[in-house]
């Protein structure tokens, strides 16, 4: 069975070395991608549509194996379900017939943890995202924001050394989303797991990341890495300051460059 020790795991480094991924359909999603992420850092991955951001996360989660190159989480290749990595998707993906508390403990139960222990840890995870009061509800009885919180609690419940977030708040309205960003920063500051955050939003990247990684269009590879040296926690005044504005412009410029072919579709050879 999988290892699910009670203590929380220390943050894990993530390393992708010259990674390529070709889907069975023939689409080359990533090519020559190199990326190293220090343990405990929060990295935002940003890039044009279809550049393979989600593919990158699935590689790190062990859901896909690279066609070429290597992927490491900590010292080993990632293995889906070993609890090292927590994954939250764009949609909450809650199991519709399970109550919130049971959805949150699902990773522990699938890993074979005794029910009482799983329940205790589930309660802790729910408390961390402020969802204790909704523990007995069904997913259909949750608002979009609450469902996404539940999904986040489920990703946190194994106390993963690395947390992978695939545009987790993109389905939420702007105000909810901004408060979620603040909350996510707080959660991250508590335990400092390594975080890879895929996002479309420059604002979100600035609000959260230690470093912003800009990917090129398909096949995706790293075109630029922009460190974000803003003080934490990142208040609205920090984010409205001149330094943030400068960084934002730099990220936008890099994105613009990586997006160029898409702006001139008539130049596409296909």
């Amino acid at each position: 069975m999988h290892e699910t020790s009670g203590e929380r795991r220390s943050a894990l480094s993530i390393a992708l070395d010259d990674v390529a991924l070709r889907y069975p359909s023939g689409v080359l999603a990533l090519d020559g991608l190199c990326l190293e992420v220090a343990p405990g850092s929060l990295t935002a991955i940003i890039g044009p549509n279809g550049c393979g951001k989600s593919t990158l996360l699935r590689l790190v989660a062990g859901l896909l194996k690279p066609t070429a190159g290597s992927v490491r989480v900590g010292a080993t290749a990632p293995r889906a379900g070993d609890g090292d990595v927590g994954l939250a998707f764009q949609q909450p993906r809650l199991v519709p017939w399970l109550r919130v508390a049971d959805n949150v403990t699902l990773p522990l139960e699938l890993a074979g943890m005794p029910r009482t222990e799983a329940r205790e840890r589930g309660e802790v995870a729910l408390a961390r995202v402020g969802l204790t009061a909704a523990a007995e509800r069904l997913p259909s009885e949750l608002s979009g924001g609450m469902a996404q919180r539940a999904a986040l609690a489920r990703a946190l419940v194994t106390e993963p050394g690395a947390l992978l977030l695939d545009e987790p708040f993109s389905a939420l309205d702007l105000l909810t989303r901004e408060s979620f960003d603040t909350e996510l920063e707080r959660l991250w500051l508590q335990r400092r797991p390594t975080v890879l955050l895929v996002t479309h939003s420059v604002t979100e990247a600035l609000a959260l990341a230690d470093e912003v990684v800009v990917l090129s269009g398909r096949p995706g590879s790293v075109v630029e890495r922009i460190p974000v040296d803003l003080e934490r926690p990142r208040s609205t005044s920090v984010l409205a300051g001149p330094q943030a504005a400068q960084l934002g412009a730099a990220i936008r410029a890099a994105l613009e460059a990586s997006r160029a072919p898409e702006l001139a579709p008539w130049a596409a050879t296909r």
Binding site: L63, A80, G81, F89, R93
Partner: protein
């Protein structure tokens, strides 16, 4: 709210009886063609009193329970396998469909010979007719699983067994219950057909006895009503199980 469906059912049963009585009385046809309801009731009491009705009913009931149980169990397994493997579905589905397309009435005598003409043969015939709708329902239900949840389970390292038990079956349950509702009523048909193919007791046999030479039409009605009651009870049990097992979804 909870009482109104029963009231509705009772009202419609009463209306049906009144209509039946009226038709029997106005048309003036003899009892051996259309017996009035009270004649059937009296005949039924007599059949219960003599133990004849229970002898035949218990035989049919046993066939229905065993046939439905084994047919549904096999259908669940095969349905999941078919859903998960396109190859298996391509190889097996022509046979499954062909077995369903050949009328069970035509197949029953052969199965009766093959399976020794006893209870086993009757259970097999009954199970066969039950099998098809539940297999198809299970396959369709399992195929409809949200791929996002499949990926979630994969990311959590779920075993195949966990995936079937905790995701695919629960997801498919509402559709599977659709198949079970059809299957349980077919089980009654299967039991009677099986009895006609070779048995000495059962409600199908009771109908034959009432028919052949006796012209005991009221007894035939007693057997028919009993079959209908078995079908209704089975259907009711399936619906009750469905209400218990299928929780609110999205």
């Amino acid at each position: 709210m909870s009482r109104s469906p029963w009231l509705g059912a009772l009202a419609s049963a009463a209306a049906f009886l009144v209509l039946w009585k009226l038709v029997a009385a106005i048309s003036g046809v003899p009892d051996y063609i259309l017996p009035a309801p009270e004649v059937v009731v009296v005949r039924g009491m007599r059949a219960i009193g003599s133990g004849v009705l229970w002898t035949h009913t218990s035989a049919t009931l046993l066939e229905v329970i065993l046939g439905f149980g084994s047919g549904a169990a096999a259908a669940l397994v095969v349905g999941v396998v078919l859903a998960r493997s396109v190859l298996v579905e391509r190889v097996l589905s022509p046979y499954i469909v062909a077995a369903q397309a050949v009328p069970i009435l035509a197949l029953a005598p052969l199965l009766d010979i093959w399976f020794g003409g006893g209870l086993l043969a009757r259970v097999v015939i009954c199970a066969l007719i039950v099998f098809f709708p539940i297999t198809i329902a299970t396959m369709v239900g399992v195929r409809s699983v949200d791929p996002g949840l499949v990926e979630l389970f994969r990311s959590l390292g779920a075993t195949e067994r966990d995936r079937v038990r905790r995701l695919e079956i629960p997801w498919a349950l509402p559709v599977i219950f659709g198949g079970l509702r059809v299957g349980v009523t077919l089980a009654v048909i299967g039991a009677v057909v099986a009895e006609w193919a070779g048995a000495s007791v059962g409600l199908g046999i009771l109908i034959n006895i009432a028919d052949q030479g006796l012209f005991d039409t009221p007894l035939m009605f007693v057997a028919l009503v009993t079959l209908a009651v078995i079908g209704l009870a089975g259907y009711g049990l399936v619906v009750a199980a469905e209400h218990r097992l299928v929780t609110t979804r999205r």
